[in-house]
């Protein structure tokens, strides 16, 4: 376990994400509405660069939406650029399979610096 400084908070405004290299690991750092999340930049599906994908919302359709498509969770979903697998940034879970999940690294802010613990 080691805590790494990845940059000043000002470099990670809300709604953005960046991939940083920490030693041999690549980590995606996400600012979702003011909360920070860090995920490995490796998709558990076929090892694509998950965190280089776009951050979007996603579709929902259920009895609660009257069985009409709704747009939900804007800014909380990252889609792997290789095969489009969607992951919930806030939980690390793949939206399409309980078998696929990515780790979440602890993120902190110390003296205006964003830190990630690997």
């Amino acid at each position: 376990m080691a805590e790494h400084v990845v940059g000043p908070v000002a470099d990670f405004p809300p709604g953005t994400h960046r991939v940083v290299r920490l030693g041999r690991a690549e980590v995606g750092v996400f600012n979702v509405g003011g909360r920070f999340y860090a995920l490995p930049n490796v998709c558990p599906h076929q090892y694509g660069p998950l965190c280089k994908g776009s951050v979007t919302g996603t579709t929902a359709c259920s009895a609660q939406t009257g069985w009409r498509f709704a747009w939900v969770r804007e800014g909380e979903v990252v889609a792997c650029p290789w095969h489009g697998l969607e992951f919930d940034i806030t939980t690390g879970r793949c939206l399409a399979s309980p078998r696929l999940r990515v780790r979440q690294y602890p993120v902190g802010v110390i003296d205006g610096q964003v830190t990630v613990t690997l």
């Binding site: 579709t59 929902a60 359709c61 069985w67 095969h83 489009g84 969607e86 399409a96």
Partner: protein
């Protein structure tokens, strides 16, 4: 030269086992249904009754569009014309309970005349109840759904919902267009769900522009038969999943007949793979397609695959959770029927065999277990 004699399975293998057959066929020739159809259409059926028919191919009634010559030296076609004959035939195979499907009206979906199709579906259901389900023990039936008029079909299902011997709704699958997942059929699926009747898809070999299309390009019936049933099931399963039927009808139970079982894990894996990529196109699915299939879809055995090593088939059944989701079916009296021994001989645990041969079907269809073997 040896002759194969059909015998029931040995008693010792059977005494503790109820055998339920999820797919047997009654001879619904036009002349049989004529007295049961609305007056306006009776002359049509009476006229058809007088015309020579080819097997499962009666223009204006069962439009199979057969392109092949009769098979040289092929076996004679069998049909069952009465409840007593059916009871006798099933008992000879050691089968206690059969779920009845039509012969000719397997080819019902491509009938274009809506009024006529509605009348025909009413006539079949009346005839099934009157002539088949009351007469002999152990005969249960599937109502004929009418994709040509889903609202009428929903009323028909509600009409028969309380009938003890009606245990399912048959969705005619060959040549149905659009496929069964289309929202136009929602009233039929809602009625079946409300009546707690499983829907059973059953295909047949026919040449039609609907899925599975282009069977006309093959030179012979071998190829058409190989592809027709299983492709129809794969296409309709995909259709049901892609429009969210298992999510939109959370209590609906769906059965697939006469396509064997080996295609089932293939479709589970294939749909799950593309669900990873395209979930946002089908957001009504709250779990993977395979999970809906394992929960609420059943698969009938016939025509059971016959790999060189039967252990491969036992493994295949395990791949889709088939212990609890497989239904024995013979397809009696059709040309490619399976004897119960085709399943009983598989290297499966006895408890699994009892489920597949009968217990799964009793539970799915809500049929009380008979006190003693009926066969």
């Amino acid at each position: 030269m040896t002759t194969t004699v059909m015998r029931p399975p040995e008693r010792h293998a059977r005494d503790a086992m109820v055998i339920v057959d999820a797919d047997v066929h009654v001879d619904d020739a036009p002349g049989q249904l004529a007295p049961y159809i609305d007056r306006a259409w009776r002359p049509s059926l009476e006229a058809l009754a007088g015309t020579p028919a080819r097997y499962l191919d009666i223009p204006g009634y069962a439009p199979g569009m057969k392109l092949d010559p009769p098979i040289p030296g092929g076996q004679a076609n069998r049909s069952v014309r009465s409840a007593a004959e059916m009871r006798e035939g099933l008992s000879a195979l050691g089968i206690d309970i059969g779920v009845l499907f039509p012969d000719h009206l397997l080819l019902f979906a491509p009938i274009p005349n809506i009024e006529y199709a509605v009348a025909l579906s009413h006539a079949y259901n009346r005839w099934l109840l009157a002539e088949w389900l009351q007469e002999e023990p152990g005969l249960y039936g599937a109502l004929l759904a009418c994709p040509q008029d889903p609202d009428d079909s929903a009323r028909e299902i509600a009409r028969y919902a309380a009938e003890e011997k009606v245990v399912a709704v048959f969705l005619p699958t060959a040549g149905v267009n659009p496929l069964w997942g289309h929202r136009r059929y929602d009233p039929i699926l809602a009625a079946a769900e409300a009546a707690n009747l499983p829907v059973l898809l059953h295909s047949v070999t026919l040449v039609s522009p609907a899925f599975p299309c282009q069977l006309d390009q093959f030179e012979n019936h071998f190829a058409r038969q190989v592809l027709s049933h299983s492709f129809a099931m794969m296409a309709n399963l995909t259709s049901l999943i892609h429009s969210g039927v298992p999510a939109r009808f959370p209590r609906l139970k769906i059965g697939f007949t006469e396509a064997g079982v080996a295609w089932v894990p293939y479709m589970m894996w294939r749909m799950d793979k593309y669900f990873l990529e395209y979930r946002r196109m089908v957001p009504f699915l709250e779990k993977r397609p395979s999970e809906y299939m394992k929960e609420r879809m059943w698969f009938a055995t016939q025509p059971i695959e016959e790999p060189d090593d039967p252990r491969d088939l036992a493994t295949t059944i395990g791949l889709y959770g088939g212990e609890n989701r497989t239904l024995f079916a013979s397809d009696w009296p059709h040309h490619d029927f399976d004897h119960p021994k085709a399943i009983l001989k598989l290297p499966l645990p006895e408890a699994t065999k009892r489920k597949i041969m009968g217990e799964n079907a009793l539970e799915l269809f809500g049929i009380p277990a008979p006190a003693a073997n009926l066969a």
